[in-house]
Every structure is written in C-alpha cells, then in structure tokens.
Subunit: 124 residues, 6 copies
C-alpha cells in the first residue's frame, strides 16, 4: 500500500511545483488535461477507460496507476478493467506485458485499500 | 468516398493473403484481435472507442480508419467520437493532429456514405 | 511545389473543420499549441527548431513539413536546419532516415519557392 | 513493381542529396548504419532479420521495404520472413498489422521481380 | 544478482495472477507469445535475438532482461549479443543508450550467475 | 542530491564497460553522439535544448536528466528550460507529465547543488 501513497504524494507535490513555476502555458495544459475527462457525450467511466487504455499502449506506468485509481473510484469492475487492458495488450503487443503486470498489482492494491476506504478518498 | 473503398479492398485482399500464408501463429493473432472487440463486461461501442483512442495515440491512420468505421456502424455519434478523439489528443499531444485531421475526414466520408448505406454494410 | 500547396490546403481546410466541430476542448488545444511557439524566454527560431526536432524523433512527416516551413519563414539557414536534424537523427536513430529524406525534399522545395516568395507568405 | 522502383529511386536520390549537404555528422551516421549490417559474430541474414523486425515494431514502412529487399537478396525464405514478422507482430501488437500487410505486398513484389532478376540486382 | 531474482519472482507471481484472472483472452495472448519463440524455419537463438532487438528499440527494460536471460540460456555469446544490441542502437538511436547500459549490466549478472549455474536454470 | 550522484556514477561506469567491450561500432556511436552537441551553426545551448526536448517527447528519464544537467552547466535559465519543456509537453501530450515531474525535480536538485558547485563540475 505504501507505493500508492508514495505515488500520490510525489504527484501532488510536483504538480504544485509545476503549477507555481510561473509558466502559464504549463498551467493551461493541466486545465485542459482535467477537462478531457469531464463527462459530456461520454460518461466519466468511459473517458477514464480511454485514459487507461491509451496510457497502457504508450506504456506509462504512472499514467496507468492514475487511471486505475480513477476507474476504481468510479466503480469500474475488475472484469471491465481486464477487458480494457486486453484491448491495450492486443493493440500494443507483448511489449506492454511488464506494464500489465504492474497494472494488475495496482488493481490489487486498490482493492485492498477499499476495505477501509471504499471510495479511495485518500488518493488523488 | 473512393479512399474508403480502396482501404477496404486492400485490407480484405491482404488479410486473405496473410491468413493463407501457412503461418499458423499469424492466423491465431488475427483471431485474438477479433475477440478483443467482442462484447463481454464492456459493450461493443466502448471496446471500439478503446480501439479508436489507442490507435490514435499510436498514430496509425489505417487503424483509426478501421475503428471510425466500426464506431459509425455501431451508432456512435459525432460528439462521442470527438470526445474520444480529444482524450487521445490530450494524452498523445499535437503530434497526433495530422492523424486527427484524417480521422475527421474519415468521419465525414462515413456520414456521406450513410445517406445511401446507413449501416455502412459495404465496408469491412 | 504542388505537394506543399496540397499540404497547406488540406491543413487549412481540416483545421477549420475541427475548430467548427463544436467541441470546445479541441479548440482549446489548438490555442495552446499556437502559444507554445510564441517568443518568451526563448526566441521564435529556437522554439520552432524544438518543434522540428521533436517532430522528427516522433516521425511525423506533416509536423516536420510544418516546422521546416516555419523555420524557413523565420530565416533559419540550411546549416542550422541540418544540425537540428542531425541531433534528431542521433537521438531517434536510423528509423528516422526516411523522414529525414522527406525533410530534405521539403527544405529544397521551400528554397525553390523562396525565389518568387522570399517570406513563403503563400504558406500556412 | 513500379512502387519498388520508385522507392529505390527516391532513396538513392535523397541519400546522395544528404551525403552532399556538407554536414559531416550526417555522413558519419550513414557509414555507421551500413557497418551495423556487416557480418561479424552474426551473419548477414541474421543482422538483416534484426533490421526487419526492429523496423516493423517501430512501424516504418520504408525501413521494412529496405530490409525485405535485403533479406530476399540474401536468400531468406518466405517462411523465415513470416516467422520474423510474427515475432514483430506479437511484440508490437495489432498496431503493426497495416505495416504487415504492406510488408507481405513487398515480399510478393520481390518474388515477382525475381523471375527476371533472381538476385534483385536492380534494387538498392 | 539480487535484481535478477527479484525480476524473476515478480514476473512469475504476476503472470500467475493474470492467467488466473478469469479473462480467457489474456491467457490466449500469453500462449501466442510463447509460440512466437518456438523454433520453426528460424532457430530459437535467432528468434530470441529478434525478441531482444525489438525489445531494445521499444525500450522495455523488463523485456530486454527476459530476452538476455533466454539468449544466455541458449548459448548466445557476448559478441553476438553486442552485435544484436548495436543494430538496435543504430535503428533506435541514442535514446536507447540508458537501456543499453542496463542490458550490459544484465549480461554481466548472467555471466556471474553462470559460474554456479551454467544453464541459468534458476531463472524463468 | 544522492540520486544525481547515483545516476552519474552508474552512467560513467557502464559507459566505460560498453566502450571496453571490444565492439568498435558501439564505440563509434558514442563518438557520433558527442559530436552532435558540439557547437557549429547552432550554439551549444540550443543543441542541448534540442537534446532535452527530444528526450522528453521520447520519454527517457535518464536522457532528460543528462540534458537538464548539461543545460544548467551551460547557463540555461529556469524560464528557458520551462519553455522548452512546454513545447515537449504540447508536442508529446499528457503522457509526458510524469517525466515532466521528474525533470522539475532534477532542475531543483541542480539548483541546490549549484550553491556549492555553481558549474556542476562534479557531474558528467
């Protein structure tokens, strides 16, 4: 469980550092990034699954961790996560497998954390 | 409209060529690729949107064309397509913009084809 | 010379199509993309060279074409372009060579166009 | 058959253009690129298959075309090519499939050319 | 030596976790992945070298570690490994250098392990 | 500060290991890599910023760390670094954000080290 907290702390601290850097364009990108996952024609769960699958084929562990947490917070089930990850595996190939292993580890950590904190409110 | 037909013909002809090459593993991959988009815990529309967004961030025009056609066949609306493409744009960056332009062109071609063939049955 | 005009026309037409799609987030990304190349602590030439080199290692022909045109408009010399492209070649490897060939072709087309239109005002 | 000739001509013409650009580092990279495929501990066929598979997972059509031609010139059989391409497909995923289709088309064009020119001496 | 054991343990444990997830398509991909490296027209050593070089250009440390171990188990020599890695370096560029450093570290660890366990039977 | 020293030590030790491997082509690549950043038509600062931005869009943490250190050694300011990183963020998308966080951490570590060692002479 320590790893998700560490990820969460580093992410929060460095986001603040970047947003306070005085570079307005970086700040605007952060805003645009948040808006991309706000519900519109597609609901939040679908948007987060898109974030998860694109992060997986681009093989970014931190991005995968973020979207797994968000999916779990939104009530996405294990089977739904597995199917989204399977699309990413087929599209992106065996090169994604090490990231898939870590994604499963993150899913399992989230499920353990949910015993005490069902909404994963302590994260993100 | 010519372009989508040409894409469709080449795709069909070369798939047949590869599946008849005598290499069984290539054939098995094709089967696994099809299965990834069969409805299970996630419905077909969500799976195809995942295929579309992952193809866009990996910047494969033919893959984007394929999944746009499939999405249109499944009744995905323009606004839903735009939001999925926007997630891909934010995740994958401006380097995806030339592919986004071609994706919009494909969407428009599909909508024109739908006047005569609402289910796009002539394709794929 | 026909190719650069075709690129220019398609780019202009599809940008307009996307900006008029009604999806506000796509529009915001376009604005952020423009702002990234506005002079600040770094001058416009350096920013465009960064655009060129990043486009080359990510192997996007249309993006390379765009930044070559912008560099030429800003007075970047052939030798400066070659050195920026060489950094991209060393960083990105021989897989960038086909894109390098097309970049050199675009540079040569720009130089020919400059005989009649030194500022390449007919483009972008 | 026209396509391979066109590829061959453009490649030759632009290589000459780049090597005569006066940028010595670009020239050195070209030399290093050639040396990588010279037989040493590994034979030329194995080295070219490595060039082919890496080009396929990085999804560079021109690079794939080049290494298919070289493999055919070195007597690599269809079944050997298919197995190397299958490794690339599994490693790189379905996103490589459009490039695989074009690779099979190139293999077939090479085999047709070989009827008149068994060593494909007219190419590269 | 600890690192390779840790890699080996995590890999084994998470593979089991994924194969027992109940998602049949993930399981099928694992089978297809294994089959790609079974000898056919190409021998096992060539197939593993293809796995190594493609993993290197796609810059996946865990995949590189896996294929280095497999190559060493199959009797591939240092000079053969270096030449395959050099093709990957030239194709993939200097961006692969940090992964190359770690690959050399893994080769050296394998050679040290071989003093006690020549076939590296304790791994994979 | 420990991290940069560790990076520096590992980098130095493994470079030496590779350059002494007996493979001449690897050695030649190292030479070509150094030459790409030697001043010519472009000055060293611009070349290093190109190295930084290309490393960021290709998402290689070690390469980013290297070029941040080099930029700081050459007197590049924070605002110049932020603008170069912003181009990379826009070109490469949100998938670069975790690497951006680590780049900011490296910038901050360099600035702290500069209090005692303004030219960062202890590194690289």
């Amino acid at each position: 469980m320590k790893d998700l907290e560490e990820f969460n702390d580093f992410r929060g601290r460095m986001n603040e550092r970047i947003l306070n850097s005085g570079n307005l364009n970086l700040k605007r990108f952060w805003a645009l990034d948040s808006r991309a996952y706000e519900p519109g024609a597609l609901d939040e769960r679908t948007l987060e699954l898109l974030g998860l699958a694109t992060s997986m084929v681009l093989r970014c562990d931190d991005c995968v961790t973020y979207h797994v947490i968000r999916c779990v917070q939104l009530g996405v089930t294990d089977d739904e996560l597995y199917e989204a990850l399977n699309v990413a595996l087929v599209v992106g190939g065996s090169i994604t497998i090490p990231h898939l292993r870590r994604a499963f580890e993150t899913i399992d950590e989230c499920r353990r954390l949910q015993v005490e904190d069902p909404g994963l409110k302590s994260l993100l």
